[in-house]
Symmetry: C2
Subunit: 290 residues, 2 copies
């Protein structure tokens, strides 16, 4: 997949107000988390699908930035003491450790509204039209919200106190992780004017790589070393957490990742352009060691 990271980071910075304002601490908190060096997977997928469908990365950029803003808000809120209570994120102090819980909460809230402001700005709407901008923004709202990412978070919380089957674990992972990746890929198609078949194919690709990503995560928590992974291992087993690994075992997980990766690559048949970058990306995710 093409390297869009620098363009994305420049665009994200452009959404932050300049100058010294009364709400500066909030702006600093938002900037802090947007600037944490990540792989920018979701916005890169938005841009890649937009270009694959004949659109421009420039027109798709507000939508790419929006999905990264929503992802970033979810990380800030996940780290809060009342949630996962994580002091670190990507090796840096988490937002509330730097700015306090109140500001971190509000920075997350502000990032969510910034996402919609970006997608529905005059420029974004002028570039792709009101109907497409509205449709893309609705997809993001749907996949990130009550029955999407946030819903997945709630199912995850509920797993701490009950034993469930693989169907509930899958539902949780689909919502918690795959949903936002689906939004990223589908939005790229929508703003570029793709067909409904192509939008559905992007959804299948995203669903498959999102689920594979989580299964690999579960596997690495058992098979990797803390040094290799760069974070503590064995936490799932220690917490007696229901995961793909605990419910299905290593061999079946390996098979599933292979099946999902094939499914993702197969879904790319719906597109006429060069899909090799997106196919390679699916394979890389499956083979990652950390």
């Amino acid at each position: 997949m093409k390297d869009y990271i620098r363009e994305i980071e420049t665009a994200l910075e452009g959404y932050l107000p300049e100058g010294k304002l009364e709400e500066q601490k909030l702006i600093d908190a938002v900037r802090y988390s947007l600037n944490l060096k990540g792989k920018r997977v979701r916005p890169s997928l938005t841009l890649a699908f937009a270009e694959l469908c004949g659109g421009s990365a420039q027109a798709a950029m507000p939508f790419a930035c929006a999905v990264e803003m929503v992802h970033t808000y979810s990380l800030i809120h996940d780290d809060l003491p009342c949630m996962d209570n994580d002091d670190f994120r990507r090796g840096e102090p988490s937002n509330h450790k730097v700015f306090g819980e109140d500001i971190a909460l509000l920075a997350g809230d502000a990032l969510q509204s910034m996402a919609y402001e970006a997608m529905l700005s005059d420029e974004a709407v002028a570039a792709v039209g009101g109907e497409r901008a509205a449709k893309a923004a609705r997809i993001l709202a749907n996949r990130s919200g009550l029955l999407g990412m946030v819903g997945g978070q709630v199912i995850d919380l509920s797993l701490e106190s009950r034993t469930v089957g693989i169907d509930v674990v899958q539902l949780m992972e689909e919502k918690k992780t795959a949903c936002l990746i689906e939004a990223a890929c589908m939005m790229g198609c929508v703003v570029a004017g793709a067909t409904d078949d192509q939008i559905r194919a992007a959804e299948r690709y995203a669903h498959a790589i999102g689920l594979a990503f989580q299964i690999v995560d579960d596997m690495l928590d058992v098979t990797s070393t803390a040094e290799e992974l760069g974070k503590p291992i064995g936490s799932d087993a220690e917490n007696e957490k229901n995961t793909y690994m605990s419910l299905l075992g290593l061999d079946r997980c390996r098979e599933l990742v292979k099946e999902l990766t094939d499914e993702a690559i197969g879904a790319l048949d719906a597109f006429d352009g060069d899909t090799s970058g997106l196919a390679d990306f699916a394979v890389q995710l499956a083979n990652r060691r950390k």
Copy 2:
């Protein structure tokens, strides 16, 4: 102003998924706060301005519900222990007292995305068109976000540790309270196809009643009794908080409320229809005793 409360509450309920789902606790938490009996001021204003500009309340309803969803999310997050740490809201236990802090945080997050899903749904877009739906949703994102309502909340937090002049208090109140009322009124105009002059007039009306509302709040905290107000009084003075009352005194506050109410009523001249309900509403807000 016409009584829209029942229609609004029916419409809000319609956005909640039916049946027993894995994320039921989240849905229950969202429903709990949406159902707390309020005056539904903001969504009523959206509908009133839409009808005043020749639109239908039905077409404007998703936008009215969206502003109430955003208002509701802000109340849930404001009550959290890391913010105001309020155990009660409208006489009922606050969301986190019933559902826990984690679910309350996520219910607020989900309500924000629900607002955009409502405004950008197929039905909403079909009724008002993609351009208007996108513009209205952008106004809500702008007024509720980084430099709007959330920004006002951050300025308010900053006042706990510093002394400021009336300009900063005004900026805080404008953002914290008036901004969302502006969005409510402006969105009603936008979805009904009002002129730019009318949208600006609705903004002026909303700004004036929003600010007057806050000044009356400050006044009642000093002049009212706890019995009359139904909540403790004197908290601003006790916290040595900078308010309109502490900085300007009672007489100047009374004058200001009068001026703002006149300004609100004057702004209604931009509309051809019957504005008496909206004018009465401004007067009622100014004269309220609780």
